[in-house]
Symmetry: C2
Subunit: 213 residues, 2 copies
């Protein structure tokens, strides 16, 4: 596949390394998630046709995000200042912590606008296959945050898959004894979804968790 993207037709010709600027860009773009050879080519041509400023802004944005973004020492979400914007925000409800696997999950929940509490990013899920246990996750730091009694509820928002459920069960067992309420995101039918196409497990959970109207 890489061969078909070769810019030059001079197959086998020895050219100095920096004659390969376009090929290198195609290679680098092709490494990005969701970018195949065709998309890489489309983006490369776009950048070639764009003015220098556009390309410079993109390159700088990439470099700066690596320089400036680090993990918040409280919740392990991405942060550009000392703490992340959510931990720093005085209007957030400090009595609730939503525990997620990755920073992207924070963004997903923030997008709903349904949650005004704090977060705790584990940095993964318990997965014996990948040799990830509680020690590899930010579990100790979570327990420390629960120690001062300010937090009344922990929402376990790991994914509803095997590892996510395992992690949630584990955390629930160690947090409940601390006298903190532990909840889990509801499973059920996706809003706007079609009952006919729901898988059996999801539909089963939706029946078990049915609500009174």
């Amino acid at each position: 596949m890489a061969q078909t993207l070769e810019w030059s037709s001079a197959a086998g010709a020895q050219v100095p390394a920096d004659d390969r600027a376009l090929q290198r860009l195609l290679d680098e773009l092709g490494r990005l998630p969701g970018i195949g050879p065709k998309s890489a080519q489309r983006i490369a041509y776009y950048l070639l046709e764009a003015d220098d400023e556009t390309a410079r802004r993109l390159a700088n944005a990439i470099l700066q995000v690596k320089q400036q973004v680090h993990f918040c020492p409280i919740c392990f979400n991405y942060a550009t200042r000392e703490h992340c914007d959510i931990c720093d925000d005085p209007t957030r409800d400090r009595s609730t912590i939503c525990v997620v696997s990755e920073p992207r999950d924070v963004t997903a929940i923030e997008r709903t606008g349904s949650y005004r509490g704090l977060y705790h990013v584990l940095g993964g899920v318990i997965s014996p296959m990948d040799k990830v246990g509680p020690e590899q996750l930010h579990v100790r730091e979570l327990l420390k945050r629960l120690a001062d009694g300010e937090v009344h509820e922990v929402i376990l928002a790991t994914n509803p898959d095997v590892e996510g459920e395992t992690t949630a069960t584990y955390l629930s067992r160690i947090i409940r004894p601390l006298g903190v309420e532990v909840t889990r995101l509801a499973s059920g039918l996706p809003v706007g979804g079609d009952l006919e196409y729901a898988d059996e497990v999801t539909l089963g959970r939706a029946i078990e968790a049915r609500r009174a109207l």
Copy 2:
């Protein structure tokens, strides 16, 4: 849509400009062709999780492609040396020039492996609506290349659409009097395509241009 990608939940909070590194990256990625907000987010997270070297290589590839790639003064394809690799390649057939609209068309034709001649990139097509006439394209330079009599055939490989056909007709009229053979890419059914789903014009052309077997 941009709002839903806002990293921070601290809506309305005044933060210094360089607290927005991630948002800026999302904005810049979102400007690329074929990259929507979801893809931009996926790429941004990938870069955040990748090592610094990966991000640095991508940023450098973007900057270098702009610094090092220019137009070949002979054929107006992209080039990293003085001339493009194809014009520089002594093994190419110098008696044939394939005329295309954009550099990406060169790549498409090179990919086929069916062509061993030279190219000429017009830099667009004749389009009165967009105020593009022959003077705005590299037509004069094409005629100059035909002047020394080395070229025996010009293949007009503009797109089979209105502007492409207009451009091909125009070029054919001015090149034929020079005693150079002028050809056009064949129109017909796509290989592997289904006759039933071909549009009438394409099917009509396929019938007109039928070959003896």
